[in-house]
């Protein structure tokens, strides 16, 4: 039984983690690129982060608190952006303002990468993440394109254990039955979408820190020899069980029709990918790459409010502050150990219904606040996200690599769900349901990204997908098109 197993494992190893058949887009890979301005090659790393809020509340015309008070290097910080200085990364994080996702012009059918008309606000992952027009109209969150992280994964992630990682800190959607917001958080609960033929599929995010730790660091060897021995033994058992499960596929698949076989093969592709990861030799420890602390049991899941339009200070929170910190720790280490080169991190979901009292001291639910609260309170919620993003940047900056740090080879983009101001299509002057005047944060030194400046996107290139394209090119993906959107924000690269 052992010999064939070894043979098959060698074969799997030879696939180098490409058992999950991402299309190998050779044309998209530039010749080997140094992602670090040093003599030592480092892998490029790409991240899309996200917070589920817009930048102003309904009817509140106080200035956009997410917008720096001045342009260029050393831009002036608002309360919302203050964590950039507190975390010591003001000079490493750029702010890109003036972004927008347009609404349909001339016809009710949205044009390229536009939002559909009507109340399509919470349903726009397709334009925001994939550069595709919104389809499905009102309440339509159909996604038709791959998200940028999947294109990056196909181009530069083939050699890593995880072609991409998809994480989410908000543990639950925090709503049950009874209203339009709730039947499902369809496509509002992930940032990553892959395509097969004409169809796009959401990629379920890793939510449990414990499972994420198990998944990412299973093969790492702890320092304590006793712990290491026990871990090795458990890992061996896990492998032998998975090996038996894997072999069961063959007996089943050839009795199924083509469509069913394809669905089951997807399951087993994932299973084999798990086997490959468990078989991978532990990474060589470096100055930056170390096994993070075992996070232990997850923070308890919070209660789900029975009414999405009521607020209960005791519900709607599952330790997201701690979850975000744990995921960020592991994400930073996943980059440092080169476990992945492409990741998404959803801090809060589209139309987040999270209780923000534990993280801001303000007794509000995010979605209700974003509509009816005041901009100052909303700013406290935004600030929490800025702080988390800043903490990731700071961690990566503290992980040495070559002559600099891991951050030098990163392109990290932090997007927000909405923008600030009016919705021209309806003539509203201030509404939370707007995708005008969007602002994003960008960090990392990959591909000569400009760091530490406030840049206003020009009207010729101000779609969020163009920002993503700029970051994609910075990590060596040779494409000028994301979905239906073409071109980059030239002023963001030196």
């Amino acid at each position: 039984m052992n010999a064939p197993r070894l043979a098959r494992r060698t074969f799997l190893r030879g696939l180098g983690g490409t058992a999950i058949a991402l299309p190998l887009l050779e044309a998209m890979i530039e010749s080997p690129r140094l992602c670090q301005a040093s003599t030592e090659a480092a892998p490029c790393r790409y991240l899309v982060g996200f917070g589920g809020y817009s930048l102003g509340t309904d009817g509140d015309s106080t200035p956009n608190a997410y917008l720096p008070t001045s342009l260029g290097a050393g831009y002036g910080l608002t309360e919302v952006l203050q964590p950039l200085a507190d975390r010591g990364v003001h000079e490493r994080v750029s702010v890109v303002s003036g972004l927008r996702i347009g609404m349909p012009t001339g016809t009710v059918e949205p044009g390229p990468a536009e939002r559909a008309g009507g109340d399509s606000f919470h349903f726009h992952p397709n334009p925001l993440l994939c550069g595709m027009r919104q389809v499905g109209g009102t309440f339509g969150s159909t996604v038709t394109g791959p998200s940028s992280d999947q294109i990056v994964a196909a181009a530069i992630g083939a050699d890593t254990l995880f072609a991409s990682l998809t994480m989410r800190a908000q543990a639950l959607y925090y709503s049950v039955g009874g209203n339009f917001v709730v039947d499902n958080p369809t496509n509002r609960d992930t940032l990553s979408f892959r395509t097969e033929g004409d169809e796009a599929f959401p990629i379920a995010p890793m939510v449990s820190p414990r499972q994420t730790f198990d998944s990412l660091f299973a093969t790492f060897v702890p320092d304590d020899p006793a712990v290491a021995a026990e871990r090795t033994k458990r890992l061996a058992l896990r492998r032998s069980v998975l090996d038996v499960v894997d072999r069961r596929m063959a007996g089943v698949a050839d009795r199924l029709g083509a469509a069913d076989r394809q669905r089951l093969e997807r399951h087993f592709d994932e299973l084999r990918a798990l086997e490959v990861r468990l078989d991978a030799p532990p990474p060589t420890p470096t100055a930056a790459c170390r096994m993070p602390t075992d996070p232990g049991e997850d923070p308890a899941l919070g209660g789900v409010p029975t009414d999405p339009f009521a607020y209960d200070v005791n519900l709607g929170y599952s330790g997201e502050n701690e979850r975000a910190d744990l995921l960020i720790d592991m994400l930073a280490m996943a980059f440092a150990c080169d476990l992945t080169r492409s990741a998404t991190l959803m801090l809060t979901m589209f139309q987040s219904l999270m209780n923000i009292e534990p993280i801001t001291g303000i007794a509000e639910q995010a979605h209700l606040l974003n509509h009816a609260g005041d901009n100052g309170d909303l700013g406290a919620f935004q600030r929490w996200h800025v702080d988390k993003f800043a903490s990731l940047v700071a961690k990566l900056a503290a992980l040495p690599e070559g002559n600099g740090s891991v951050l030098d080879s990163c392109a990290l983009v932090m997007l927000n769900e909405g923008g600030y101001g009016g919705e021209p299509y309806f003539g509203d002057s201030f509404t939370s349901h707007t995708t005008e005047n969007m602002v994003a944060l960008v960090a990392g030194g990959a591909g000569g990204l400009v760091q530490g400046e406030h840049i206003v996107a020009s009207p010729e290139a101000n779609h969020p997908a163009q920002l993503l394209l700029t970051a994609m090119q910075a990590v060596g993906v040779n494409t000028n098109v994301l979905g239906e959107v073409e071109g980059t924000i030239a002023s963001l690269r030196t």
Partner: protein, 562 residues
């Protein structure tokens, strides 16, 4: 004994009761048919060769590979391993609702799913062997040593049949026994058991309902299911859980190959408490009240009221299912009595005639009336949509892309909400669809968004009556007729013969795990005729579905997945 072993104890006792009845039937069958061998080493060929095949069967539903839903997974590990409540919550992604949670077209494997399944398998297997009571029931023998081949083999054979829902082949018994003994050699005997359980909990034949069957000659893509596959279909339809030993015995004896055997087995299965839970879940998902937006005490009271009515009509009185819509009695206690404004004191739960307070039938219960509210009041549009789509099986097209559908249209001169809705009638592109929905919703308006009775609209920002806006409470199903209130709506849907064929379609979609389409029409017509012939008894509908010849067949998806 702790709760988990209690659960297993109950399972065993229950199987004992049901199994005894089946045992007698089995004995009778085995006399007539010759006893099926129980030995996995049976060399007399594939028992599937004996399956009766009708090459002219029609109305066979298309079914793809179905994964256990989260609820099915939880019920299965509860029944087979004594696992406690909802172990899946932390690791498995939630199922999509369409409105049912078992639509296989929405089930896509992901890394998180596969890793979640693996983590959960390790957790559950470890918990099972750590609890001596659970462990001993699952293992079924006392090992003499870590390398007790006989005990491991007997555990693999008996528990494997439950986990994979069919007898293991000799090769499978060997392979799992070897896994168990190899792992036991590194730990101890029960470490080996744990490894085998961990493998089964990830097995394709456990996680998925593998239906292969035997190809029907001359009918491409059509397969006759074997008895175990039929048993699994029946178990997840009627119990929402795995077949138990008794049902597997029936399958093994060939007792499920013919309609009469399936009918007999399903009749026994409907007597199991799990059937009540499952039929309740079906109705709750169908009408949308399985998750309500209320404080728990109220949600529980409402769910209990509706479940009691469903059980009374279907299981206790074996009455016509349309009594759900006509019943004047309701099972309520003090909570709902005050909620419904019943004057006489009610101190404990019981059946009460609620017709005097305009509560007749399921549609006038708080559960249904709480479905699909708007932000701060009812939405006649959404209520009408629920009635059209769920109760009448008429899909409503989505609104055009240029409208704001989560707010009523621009206020009119009137201060009354319903006048705003009526303004839809004046808007050319809206009028057609909104008439289909809003006119229905208007008839339910005397019940607010949580089901409390009112005669006037509320003033903004509160529950004070706006006496300028009396609610007429009259509605119309355009093209069918007018009605007053939820009781009138229920009566109309029953009298016009609309809701009966629709529930057949809904149940069939639930049984097949996907929305029905034109190809299902012949089967639906047969079932609708059977339902009518039984005077609309829901238990008879379930039996008719299970006994229908097509139930034992499968039409596979075409390569495009359709």
């Amino acid at each position: 004994m702790n709760g988990n072993s209690d659960a297993i104890g109950k399972r065993i006792r229950r199987n004992g009761v049901v199994g005894a009845r089946w045992g007698a039937a089995l004995l009778a069958l085995s006399v007539g048919l010759g006893c099926a061998t129980e030995d996995g080493d049976d060399d007399e060929g594939d028992p599937r060769a004996e399956l009766p095949i009708d090459a002219n069967v029609d109305g066979v539903g298309t079914v793809g590979l179905r994964r256990l839903t989260v609820r099915e997974y939880n019920a299965t590990v509860r029944d087979l391993l004594g696992e406690g409540a909802a172990p899946s919550a932390r690791f498995l992604p939630e199922d999509r609702r369409t409105p049912f949670d078992n639509d296989f077209t929405t089930q896509t494997a992901s890394r998180v799913l596969v890793e979640g399944v693996e983590a959960l398998a390790r957790d559950i297997a470890a918990r099972t062997v750590a609890d001596p009571a659970r462990r001993d029931l699952v293992v079924g023998c006392a090992p003499s040593s870590a390398d007790d081949d006989d005990c491991m083999r007997s555990f693999v054979t008996a528990q494997g049949r439950r986990m994979l829902r069919r007898p293991l082949t000799a090769e499978e018994v060997d392979a799992f026994t070897r896994l168990g003994l190899d792992a036991a050699a590194q730990t101890e005997f029960f470490g080996g058991v744990e490894a085998v359980l961990t493998a089964w909990l990830q097995d394709p034949a456990f996680l998925y309902r593998i239906e292969t069957g035997v190809p029907v000659p001359g009918r491409p893509g059509l397969f006759r299911l074997d008895g175990f596959e039929v048993a699994t279909r029946m178990a997840y339809l009627i119990w929402g859980s795995a077949p138990d030993d008794g049902l597997l015995d029936w399958a093994e004896s060939g007792g499920l190959d013919e309609a009469e055997g399936r009918r007999e087995a399903a009749t026994a299965m409907l007597a199991d408490p799990r059937a009540r839970g499952q039929i309740d879940r079906f109705h709750a998902q169908w009408l949308g009240y399985d998750s309500l937006s209320h404080p728990p005490f109220l949600t529980n009271a409402m769910r209990l009221e509706t479940r009691a009515l469903v059980e009374r009509v279907i299981f206790d009185e074996h009455a016509a299912w349309d009594q759900l819509f006509l019943s004047t009695d309701s099972y309520i206690g003090p909570t709902l009595a005050s909620y419904y404004g019943i004057a006489e004191p009610i101190t404990e739960l019981g059946w009460v005639d609620t017709s005097a307070v305009d509560r007749v039938g399921i549609l006038s219960q708080g559960s249904f009336l709480s479905v699909a509210p708007n932000v701060d009041d009812t939405s006649p549009t959404k209520r009408g949509k629920v009635v059209r789509e769920r109760l009448m099986c008429q899909p409503i097209p989505p609104p055009p892309p240029d409208v704001m559908a989560d707010t009523p249209p621009t206020p009119t001169d009137s201060s009354c909400r319903l006048d705003e809705y009526r303004a839809h009638r004046e808007q050319g592109t809206c009028a057609g669809c909104h008439a289909l929905m809003d006119e229905v919703g208007f008839g339910l308006e005397r019940y607010d968004a949580v089901g409390v009775y009112r005669e006037f609209e509320y003033l903004p920002e509160g529950l004070e009556s706006n006496e300028a806006c009396a609610i007429e409470g009259k509605g119309e199903i355009v093209g069918v007729g007018t009605f007053e209130g939820p009781a009138g709506l229920g009566r109309l849907l029953v009298d016009e013969g609309i809701v009966q064929p629709c529930v057949v379609q809904q149940l069939y979609g639930y049984a097949m795990g996907h929305a029905v389409d034109d190809a299902d029409e012949p089967m639906l017509q047969r079932l609708q005729a059977d339902f009518a012939a039984s005077d609309y008894r829901f238990d008879e509908l379930v039996l008719a579905l299970v006994a229908d010849e097509a139930f034992a067949y499968r039409q596979e998806l075409d390569p495009e997945g359709n």
